[in-house]
Symmetry: C2
Subunit: 427 residues, 2 copies
């Protein structure tokens, strides 16, 4: 039984109630939306200590933070610190993208700690273990791959990215139309390498029913990955990307029929003026499935500031209907983020999510800003710090910027020429 089985049968689960409480909506609304496939609650039966979150239409926009070990940076403890920093900064979900040498150990350690939903990309572990056995990526067997997926599901992973829509036909589009940056999805590149070498269809597509069975058993939410997501503005909204999205739409239908919760992943690098089209297309082709976007980045040149480029794209995407934003850190396109960059990435993405929620008319988001406006008018600095998206930073910054100031009510920006004060006296 999955959340979807229960929802379709008209039953409200404990998880639906918890999400309804957090969102300030009725549990019945959550149930209806889950039954219709428009909201998912990734909640693996084996994830202990999970505090569930909902993702989808009618809910606040959620934020995901990625981390994980790599061959060059294999320490598990560092990743647990990133988990803590991400959640403290406001992440609603996290993904463990480990490719270091102790993937299972890392995941289990994260799952034991994480109260937020945890996602993974099982093809990473399947590929890394194949290479560790002194084989090539292309030697990965279908059973190896599904073995890893089953193991991760059993461990309690709440959602998995699976690039099921990357088919031989998608690759034909890629080859014929051409691209500047081809494939930038790591999982997508593994699968493409495998398919081309073995001259075979993508096993995640060919054996999709096998995937659905595992997902159903543990109530793992499928996050249908976009292996062909554009890696540069020049490649955005091209035939390969849209063909893959068409396939994903069909796979959404099949997941819903199987009572498996499903969301769809989206780009990537997208010019600001194409974001609305991308969101609308996904919502239509995938019949309202929750949309999980990476960025989108609205320029390719913001190296060192990609969290800002992503916050711009993310606000636009979420205000057009994207439900779930994957963070981008200042280290994107450079290397693995450190803890401070994880924090910055989460905060920038939270700003995008919150600003979009206001644009969509969410009353609790609007209330936060109204309270801040009132605190500003009252020159109540303690309250302003309390209401800030990052109170710690707000407090430190105020202290650092106002050491010389004579007027404690004001700030060094205007000093005694404070508009708030002058107008208050005048009116």
């Amino acid at each position: 039984m999955t959340q979807m089985t229960e929802a379709k049968a008209g039953r409200i689960t404990a998880e639906m109630k918890q999400v309804a409480n957090k969102e300030g909506v009725s549990a019945e609304f959550i149930r209806e939306q889950i039954a219709a496939g428009k909201i998912v609650i990734p909640a693996n039966k084996n994830h202990q200590h999970l505090d569930p979150n909902g993702f989808g239409e009618g809910l606040t926009t959620k934020v995901n933070a990625n981390f994980g070990t790599s061959e060059d940076y294999p320490e598990v403890d560092k990743e647990l610190e990133k988990l803590e920093a991400a959640v403290e900064a406001g992440a609603d979900a996290v993904m463990d993208l480990s490719t270091g040498d102790k993937i299972t150990e890392t995941r289990q350690a994260i799952l034991a700690e994480a109260e937020v939903p945890l996602g993974t990309v099982p093809i990473y572990q399947a590929t890394v273990e194949t290479l560790q056995d002194d084989k090539a990526i292309v030697d990965l067997t279908v059973d190896d791959l599904f073995g890893v997926i089953e193991k991760q599901a059993q461990d309690g992973v709440d959602f998995i990215t699976v690039h099921c829509g990357l088919t031989l036909e998608t690759i034909r589009h890629l080859k014929e139309e051409g691209r500047v940056t081809d494939i930038v999805s790591r999982g997508g590149s593994f699968i493409t390498g495998w398919m081309l070498h073995n001259d075979a269809e993508n096993p995640l597509y060919e054996y999709y029913d096998r995937l659905l069975e595992i997902a159903y058993e543990y109530d793992v939410t499928l996050s249908l990955g976009d292996g062909l997501r554009p890696g540069s503005l020049a490649d955005a909204t091209d035939r390969s990307q849209i063909h893959e999205l068409l396939v994903l739409g069909e796979l959404v239908d099949r997941a819903r029929e199987a009572d498996v919760q499903v969301m769809v992943e989206g780009p990537g690098h997208v010019p600001f003026d194409q974001i609305e089209t991308n969101i609308q297309l996904q919502k239509e082709l995938c019949k309202g499935a929750p949309f999980y976007v990476l960025g989108p980045l609205v320029t390719d040149i913001a190296v060192g500031y990609d969290h800002i480029a992503a916050a711009i794209g993310g606000t636009m995407a979420a205000s057009c209907g994207a439900d779930f934003l994957c963070y981008v850190t200042p280290a994107e396109h450079i290397g693995l983020p450190n803890i401070e960059e994880v924090r910055e990435g989460v905060i920038a993405t939270k700003i995008a999510a919150h600003s979009a929620d206001i644009a969509k008319g969410n009353s609790s988001a609007k209330k936060q800003d109204l309270q801040m406006a009132e605190a500003r008018k009252a020159l109540d600095w303690e309250q302003q710090i309390e209401l800030a998206i990052d109170s710690k930073k707000a407090k430190e910054s105020r202290a650092a910027h106002n050491q010389e100031i004579q007027d404690e009510d004001a700030c060094s920006m205007c000093g005694s020429y404070c508009a708030m004060k002058i107008v208050d006296e005048a009116l």
Copy 2:
């Protein structure tokens, strides 16, 4: 004679040619747009060493950086360092908002150095000097005010913010409708205080012709300030703001008739979904005058990260037609920015301007991103650093993030599992 006089007479000036070269458009196009009032080239006859820039329809989006002394931080040298940092980071114009005790000296020092257009807000100096004479703000005389404006014009200031649209009628709207944060424009607050105390019309409105005469003499571009710009999302797009904009539209007509170049300033704090309306309204009511916006900030709660909230709003605004973005730094709502924050503010705003230029189809902006995409595909790190919006930061960040890495072609994000490499081999 002003740029506008020349343009209307069909003559192309040296400044028009310089701007045309920078923008990759014809000098005749610039001339036509200046004659129509849709482009301005702020270029005071007395500003030595000016490298002129154009602002308006059909040109790339420009970025302004503010700095200036205050009573608590009066050192002129610090402000000259901020000028240098802002221009190095890519600012197309700067404003000296000094309110310290040596305003004239500071301005003249900045003007001697600045090759970019310099703007000021003369009411600041007029007010500060009144207070220095042991008088109250409300004792400022009309002649004092115009004396300061004339002096600043004579010194070579290229554009001045003048809150001419803040009238008794605008204040009636403010009082009757009510607001959460009333007036947050410093200049607006000085004028409001003066008007209410003296029970008199705003001298910048009443004696607008006197202002036009000074502006004409030195070819100072008027930047019609929005004293009633909303200081919180709750106050956005209200009657006071829109009434002031109506008045500004009429004043644009009068400036154009007098051959005075004019642009219009805009908000402020605006919910993401109201930005398009704000831009469209300004462009219609002010008949295509260049639009200079502050942010807009899409949330009130991003204390410490307001440069990100402004980059989000600025991208939307510029893609809808705003021509000139005033930067917001991470110190906004906290205090005066330090040099590093000036840099961060400029870069974030440049990301917004550039992303919007791509959305508007600007070919040179698109080319920069295409080159970056090609450098990424080629794993050409030197080229990526060269093309980055902040090469210095990109270089430092790459070095810091990849100390442990074994594969020099790749980065620590994916290490040897580099999608670019895998797909290159597979395809």
